[in-house]
Amino acid sequence: MSERQEDELIRRCRNGDDQAFAELIHCYQKPVYNLALRITHSGVLAEEVTQATFVKVFEKLTLYTTGLSLFSWIYRIAMNEAINEYRRGKRRSSLDETRMESAAEPSFELAEAIQEALMYLKPDDRALIILRHFQNLGYQEIAFIMDRSESRIKSQLFRARSALKLILVKLGVKNET
């Protein structure tokens, strides 16, 4: 969507145009849902987060200032919603040896194993990996979404990947690359 089209869509949404808001949902629900799914590792929670994100977008759209990327702005809301949802009682138990050992089955599909490993990362690190590697966002955009400097994002990403590798090894995932 071009910047001009985006501005027009925002204007219509602000004027209470339901059709415009439906278009906005259509454009962004997939990345938002995927972000939520990767962070919460639950389809149900991902749906809830996606819904809550768009309700918040509707409520706060008047506060959105053009110049920022609408996508980044929505993503920022979604990431906070997802992390909060995850932290609100849905927190998974921290990495414990029993779980690790039982999980170390060779039948693990790689994608499942990576998702499983992601859940052992801190929510912030997880979100960072998702934004960079699943959503292919640039460092500048991630820095805006996560409200941190680019250099900090880069070093945190480096550490997060190393941590993920270690978890995958502990989960018994063989090097299949």
């Binding site: 209470g16 339901d18 808001f21 439906a22 949902i25 259509h26 629900q29 997939k30 849902y33 995927n34 799914l37 389809g43 991902a46 749906e47 996606t50 819904q51 768009f54 309700v55 509707f58 409520e59 790689l110 994608a111 990576i114 998702q115 990996i129 590697h133 699943f134 880069k154 480096f158 990947r161 190393s162 993920l164 590798k165 090097n175 690359t177």
Partner: protein, 387 residues
Amino acid sequence: MQKALDGTLTEEEQRAWHAWLQQHPGDQALYDEQAEMTRLLERMPEAEPPAHLSVQIMRSVRKKKAEKHTLTQLIFHRQEDPMSPKYKWLLIGAAAVVVVGVLISRFYPWPPESATQGTIGAVQKADKYESGQMSSQDVTLTDSELQQLLQNETVQKIIADKQLIAAVQTMDGKAIAALQTLDGKSIAALQTLDGKSIAALQTLDGKSIAALQTLDGKSIAALQTLDGKSIAALQTLDGKAIAALQTLDGKSIAALQTTDGRSIAALQSLDGKAIAAMQTMDGKAIAALQTLDGKSIAALQTMDGRSIAALQTLDGKSIAALQSIDGKAIAALQTLDGKSIAALQTLDGKAIAALQTLDGRSIAALQTLDAQTIASMQTAEGRSTAE
């Protein structure tokens, strides 16, 4: 490494990077690990959101919209006749709230005439303004006291003279509001015994007193003029802040003191001499301006940062100095008895520049200790030296 992982290296950078990796096996291992993870993560499939999700979201948004609309209507769009009984009651209610708020006050023991002090000297700690705390005996009226007051000969005389008394007293609610004019003297007092607040304005023989005291909150604001002398004081005992302005016989004192924060700001003029001082003990900053007998001193000192800036004129002699002990820079300009000295010294950088004129003799010197260069020009008794 990040650029290599992102695939944003130029050809030249790539060559250099590979050469580096060949010579540094540790970095090679790290890079391989990061590259492997990057490849793995980028192979992750994207999930499709359920088909019903967008419908579900739109339903929530519409619901939110309806709620918002209803609320907006309730607040802003409800038309109310300004003269309707409901509207009038609303106004009466609001007025009642204001009155009750005003009645949260009570009478004040006048601030002592001379207890409010500023600072003397540049950075001396201001003494705390102290006033006697009101006791319950001072403020509690019993029925018999009230009766006595009403039957008092003076009060009766005032009523007979058709002078004004307005008094509202609720003993249960313990609120007292009074406005009284006695022989041209006026007293306005508002007192709430429970709330322990006092607001008072009194003019006696041309002398005026305004005081507001909250015993619980322990704040006192007072303005008093007695015999042309005025006192303004604000004190918060808990917060330990004191602001005071006092003029006695043409001499004025302004002081602001925070005992916890340990900052003191003071301005004082005594016999034409002015002192302004600001001191933060925690931050260890001191700023002072002092004029005594036409001599002025301006000083700013930060003890932590160890910088001192000072400008002083004593008997026509001026001194300007800037010193950072940590940074080890000293700049000074001094004129004593027509002799001038300008000096700039950086101890770390080891550079010294100096210009000095003593008794018509001038010295200019530039010295760099590290680089070991010295340039100097000196004229003493008509002789010049250049090195």
